[in-house]
């Protein structure tokens, strides 16, 4: 009866002092799909992510996740429902090792960790899983490296491993491949395809060839509004989309 829609936004709007970064955006993301959100710089993609995960309170609109209205929920509680985001700007814990970064996410399985009297030895139980996740993104040799010392592309990979550690039902990835070299892009693209088998992914990505090969549905945002929606073939032929990209100086 939810016609396969896992996440729906209705009339989502964010106003910053008279400027509408996102205006009247309605989205329906189908369960199991890779859904791409694209658009020129400043289109409001990141703001959309911030609204959907409640890192920003919407000025207007409603968000429904798995049939539940989450518009009034806190961002941490939304993450606990299995709707987990990544950040456009690399978001690792710089002074923790790569292994510890992933373990922070795995530690969530314990529920809350208010036990300040217990030794952190109890976290060793997560090491094996953490190593497996690091291996999946090609970071095995860096497990004892402080995340802050990793090259940019590796940081992004670590973020994905950390996000995956929560085993989320739905992932919101904000430009997961920005700043990566060719090999890394290919590896992460393959990983995203692999993990999408039993998950839903909403992804912001500027690399259009990646978008073309990965996504089932594409929503084009421009100036805070939905410009077009559909599969790659139809969206890429849409004259308004072409104009928006050329107008913004994008290829």
């Amino acid at each position: 009866m939810d016609d396969g829609v896992i996440l729906a936004a209705d009339d989502l709007t964010k106003e910053f002092k008279g400027f509408f970064a996102v205006e009247g955006v309605s989205l329906k993301i189908k369960r199991g799909q890779i859904h791409a959100l694209i658009g020129p710089n400043g289109a409001g993609k990141t703001t959309c992510f911030n609204l959907l995960t409640k890192f920003l309170p919407p000025t207007r609109g409603r968000i429904i996740y798995k049939g539940q209205d989450i518009t009034a929920m806190s961002p941490a509680d939304i993450a606990r429902l299995g709707l987990v985001r990544s950040f456009q700007i690399s978001a690792v814990f710089p002074h923790l090792t790569a292994l510890e970064n992933v373990r922070i996410a795995l530690q969530r399985q314990r529920g809350d960790s208010f036990d300040f009297w217990r030794s952190q030895k109890v976290l060793l139980q997560f090491d094996e899983r953490a190593r497996a996740l690091l291996a999946e993104v090609g970071l095995s040799e860096f497990e004892q490296t402080e995340a802050g010392d990793l090259p940019y592309g590796r940081k992004r990979a670590l973020e994905i491993a950390t996000t995956l550690a929560l085993d989320p039902e739905m992932l919101l990835l904000d430009e997961p491949m920005a700043g990566m070299g060719h090999e890394d892009v290919d590896r992460i693209a393959a990983l995203i395809r692999r993990i999408s088998a039993d998950r839903t992914i909403l992804m912001v990505e500027h690399n259009l060839s990646v978008v073309a090969s990965l996504s089932d549905t594409i929503t084009v945002l421009a100036r805070g509004k939905v410009l077009a929606e559909g599969d790659y073939a139809s969206v890429s032929k849409d004259p308004r989309v072409i104009e928006a990209y050329i107008g913004a100086g994008h290829g």
Partner: protein, 327 residues
């Protein structure tokens, strides 16, 4: 099939990966204990007790600043507030010292919960301002309330009999009680830092939005560390009141809040042992330069400026960088 003994060729990292206390930390704890045991026979015991009280205070503060990433500019409220309660309990209610100290510590925990709950809603400089504002309210309350003795403070607080058995009138006897409280407090802080809770705390300090996106309700962790820090600061203040048999406005004054920031930064914030060094430096200076009056403040200021300019990581922070080990 090799059942070979795991070789420890990567040094401490293996041990840390196992989650135990690394050898060099254990060595430092033993050295501290040894130094603590001989110190009262080489130095004036009351002076060393003062260092220990302030060292515990600074370590408690560092738990919040160095590991929680929260700069409180009102920690005198918990230190001094606890000192008043501890002194009042010992003097007026006739509590034995252990219960007096416990009362003061508990009072600091309650005060910390109330103020912390309001302060953690703010970030950065606003957080510091809120904590300062509440500390000022505690100061004015202490100035006006009848039981605090106004400008005189609570004087001639009896040291009493520990557990009804041990008379604490002797400085040496009291010294070992204070040493035990200090080491107990330090070990507790060490455990907090190296607990599952401490791990989440570090994550929040490093990148709060990311911690939230992983489902951590970060405000609760921040409140928890705030309360722990206030409680331990209260333990230090309560003990200080028994040692000096005095609780006064100095303990709740904003300059006390500033001093603990100074101690922590000079020693090295975010290091386990740095605040102890910082406290020792500042207390020593105050003691031996006391005759110079206002110049002490000037010299303190100069040391602070030099510290900030030359080694931001503090004394122990710099040493930690040299030896490439967290201290």
């Amino acid at each position: 099939m090799s059942a070979a003994v795991e070789t420890d060729n990567s040094g401490i990292s293996v041990q840390q990966a196992r989650g135990g206390m690394p050898a060099h930390h254990a060595a430092i704890f033993i050295a501290l204990l040894a130094a603590g045991l001989v110190a009262p026979f080489l130095l004036y015991p009351v002076f060393v007790m003062k260092v220990l009280c302030f060292a515990l205070f600074a370590c408690a503060f560092n738990l919040l600043l160095g590991y929680g990433g929260l700069l409180s500019f009102g920690h005198a409220a918990y230190f001094g507030g606890a000192a008043y309660i501890s002194a009042h309990a010992a003097k007026v209610w006739g509590f034995p010292p252990e219960l007096a100290i416990l009362s003061g510590t508990l009072a600091a925990a309650i005060l910390g919960t109330a103020i912390g709950a309001l302060a953690i809603r703010r970030q950065g400089i606003y957080f510091a301002m809120v904590t300062l504002a509440f500390a000022q309210m505690v100061f004015f309350f202490s100035l006006q309330a009848p039981f605090t003795g106004g400008e005189d403070g609570i004087q001639a607080v009896p040291r009493g009999m520990l557990f009804g058995l041990i008379n604490l009138r002797s400085d040496i006897t009291l010294y070992f009680v204070v040493l035990a409280i200090f080491l107990g407090g330090l070990l507790m802080i060490y455990r907090i830092i190296h607990s599952p809770f401490g791990q989440v705390l570090k994550a929040i300090r490093e990148n709060e939005p990311r911690a939230i996106s992983l489902g951590y309700r970060t405000n609760r962790y921040k409140l928890a560390v705030f309360v722990l820090s206030a409680t331990l600061a209260g333990l230090a203040g309560s003990t200080k009141a028994i040692v000096f048999q005095l609780a006064s406005l100095t303990d709740v004054h904003w300059s006390m809040s500033g001093e603990v920031v100074l101690m922590t930064l000079i020693g090295g914030m975010g290091t386990v042992f740095g605040p102890i060094v910082g406290a020792a430096v500042i207390v020593t200076m105050q003691n031996y330069l006391a005759t110079m009056g206002a110049w002490v403040t000037v010299i303190q200021g100069c040391i602070f400026v030099i510290c900030v300019l030359l080694f931001r990581e503090g004394v122990v922070g710099v040493i930690a960088r040299w030896v490439k080990r967290p201290l």
